[in-house]
């Protein structure tokens, strides 16, 4: 148990510090790298909780794909740091208000479980024993039976968002030459080569 708490405090401390550095770092690329470190430590906390599937999912989806794209974009941006810092004091009150509201909501939500036993009973299906059912089985059997409707709705919303993003960015340019593989494959000797008998000195 001691070892577990040591690791818990280690990961939590690194998580909080790197989360602070995300907004504190001067260079946006450093911010993204700190964000990745924060994701990692969150994944480590999930492992400590016994939620190994969620931990791996966090690394695969957020660190492996989303943060790569973040880094990709931030590296390409030509950010003027002085200009970016100029409005800091002006926007800070709004940011603080958002932060305080978020904190209050979290406190209300988690405090409710601690204070009221009725709310704690509403937590939904309790997690099955880890020793008997593996993480993935537990999540899968809940997701595909009890919450199948919500799951499918979420998938549909994501799908619509994806189609929307593609429609917004897709435009066919007619002034560039593109390779059309299917046309290349469809070409045959008959419709691409013509054999002509040329008399000497006359040209075609």
């Amino acid at each position: 148990m001691i070892l577990q708490s040591v690791f818990f405090y280690l990961f939590s401390a690194v998580l909080l510090i790197s989360a602070l550095m995300v907004i504190g770092a001067r260079n946006p690329v450093h911010s993204v790298l700190f964000l990745i470190l924060a994701f990692f430590n969150a994944a480590a906390l999930f492992v400590l909780l016994g939620a190994e599937f969620l931990a791996m999912l966090l690394v695969v989806v957020y660190v492996g794909a989303v943060a790569v794209l973040f880094l990709f974009i931030v590296m390409m941006l030509d950010v003027d740091f002085v200009e970016m810092r100029a409005g800091f004091l002006q926007y800070m009150p709004i940011g603080l208000v958002v932060g305080v509201v978020l904190l209050a909501e979290l406190l209300v939500a988690f405090g409710g479980w601690a204070v009221s036993p009725d709310l704690a009973a509403n937590l939904g299906e309790p997690m099955p024993d880890i020793a008997q059912v593996s993480n993935i089985e537990a999540i899968g059997s809940l997701l595909y039976t009890k919450y199948i409707f919500y799951f499918q709705t979420a998938a549909l919303i994501l799908f619509v968002a994806m189609v929307g993003a593609i429609v917004l960015t897709l435009h066919h340019r007619t002034d560039v030459k593109r390779q059309k593989i299917e046309r290349q494959v469809a070409r045959t000797v008959e419709n691409s080569i013509e054999i002509v008998e040329v008399e000497t000195g006359s040209g075609i």
């Binding site: 070892l3 260079n27 690329v29 450093h30 790298l33 990745i36 190994e52 599937f53 791996m56 999912l57 690394v59 695969v60 660190v63 492996g64 794909a65 790569v68 794209l69 880094l71 990709f72 590296m75 390409m76 593996s134 993480n135 993935i136 390779q179 593989i181």
Partner: protein
């Protein structure tokens, strides 16, 4: 205190010892994988390849190692120094960390976790960070271009690798790597009534299209030719490694070859029955599992090396087309097909 020793110290020491053993063996194997790569490439081009250091050039990789670590590391003055050095470190650490879950024989695995294959997918998707960090921190044009290329390439091919893994998992019903190998003990050959032909049991045969997709995606994921756009020397000099020399460069090389070896092992585990002998008859079953594992992974690496030797490099748009317009629909279709067949034939585990 005594309880602390028996519960934490001794298991911890055993785990460290196992990890060190695996690391040493792995690094020696990597030295010869590197040599084999160069020898095979040379043989295809009718050259001799490295043949001076030691008999048949067998110690060439160790000579190279000495050369790399004795040279002076040069850090460009306008680079971002911390991230510049962090890049190769991340590459090599992530590549080596993945080996913690690879079962090289029955029960020979450091960490037999339930989500083994997911861990491998997660860790192999992190390899891109070393490349992006190195490319960006060099503060130079070619490395940045190369980093962008390879980020897009690795993210794209991870998608099809994910779907290939899903098809295999549908057949196995577990994410544990040892379970995946055990599931291949029975299969097509047992159904046909030929239990000794165990190489027909493995998933390469029923999932053959996925085997091919996985092999090609593994080439792209490890930046091997014909998909080595990240270091296409005719366009980008040496890609993200332009500004690197001596030990940091060696770490990039090492990380690259360790992840190639990892991809070969993953192919072996997912499709070629891991440590299982190819024929379930007497002389084959005498050999220990680890020998079969290394032989199979070596065979996959031989294919990697041959592809490098005789396939010309892809153009970048062709690479993207192959990933998104060919492999993604194909693997998605196969996931649906395999799931349907398993469900309606009642073979689902």
């Amino acid at each position: 205190m005594n309880e602390f020793v028996t519960n934490w110290l001794i298991p911890g020491a055993i785990m460290v010892g196992q990890s060190l053993l695996l690391l040493v063996v792995l690094l020696v194997v990597i030295a010869y994988v590197l040599l084999a790569d160069r020898k095979i490439w040379a043989a295809v081009q009718m050259r001799r390849g490295p043949n001076v250091v030691g008999p048949f050039g067998l110690f060439q990789s160790f000579a190279d190692l000495l050369k790399f670590i004795l040279k002076e590391p040069v850090i460009p003055s306008s680079s971002n120094k911390v991230i510049f050095l962090l890049g190769p470190l991340v590459t090599v650490t992530v590549a080596l960390a993945a080996w913690a879950v690879v079962p090289v024989a029955d029960g020979w695995v450091i960490s037999n976790i339930n989500v083994g294959i997911l861990y491998l997918l997660a860790v192999s998707s992190l390899g891109v960070y070393g490349i992006i960090m190195g490319g960006w921190a060099s503060n130079s044009k070619y490395p940045l271009l190369s980093a962008l290329r390879s980020a897009a390439q690795m993210v794209s091919y991870e998608v099809s690798i994910g779907f290939v893994i899903v098809t295999v998992l549908l057949c196995v019903g577990s994410l544990n790597l040892s379970d995946i190998v055990h599931a291949q003990e029975t299969g097509l050959a047992t159904k046909l009534g030929m239990p000794s032909m165990s190489f027909l049991n493995w998933y390469w045969l029923p999932l053959f299209p996925m085997f091919v997709v996985f092999f090609i995606s593994a080439l792209a994921e490890t930046n091997r030719p014909p998909f080595d756009l990240a270091e296409a020397e005719s366009e980008l000099v040496a890609g993200f490694m332009v500004e690197y020399g001596s030990t940091p460069y060696m770490m990039y090389m090492l990380g690259e070859y360790v992840s190639i070896a990892l991809m070969c092992s993953m192919t072996t585990i997912l499709f070629m029955g891991g440590w299982l002998p190819p024929l379930d008859v007497v002389p084959f079953t005498w050999l220990p599992g680890v020998v079969w594992f290394i032989l199979k992974a070596g065979l996959v690496f031989f294919m990697f090396a041959m592809v490098k030797a005789f396939v010309p490099r892809y153009r970048y748009d062709q690479l993207m087309r192959l990933g998104w317009k060919v492999f993604l629909p194909l693997s998605l279709f196969y996931v649906v097909l395999v799931a349907g067949v398993l469900q309606f034939a009642g073979w689902a585990p």
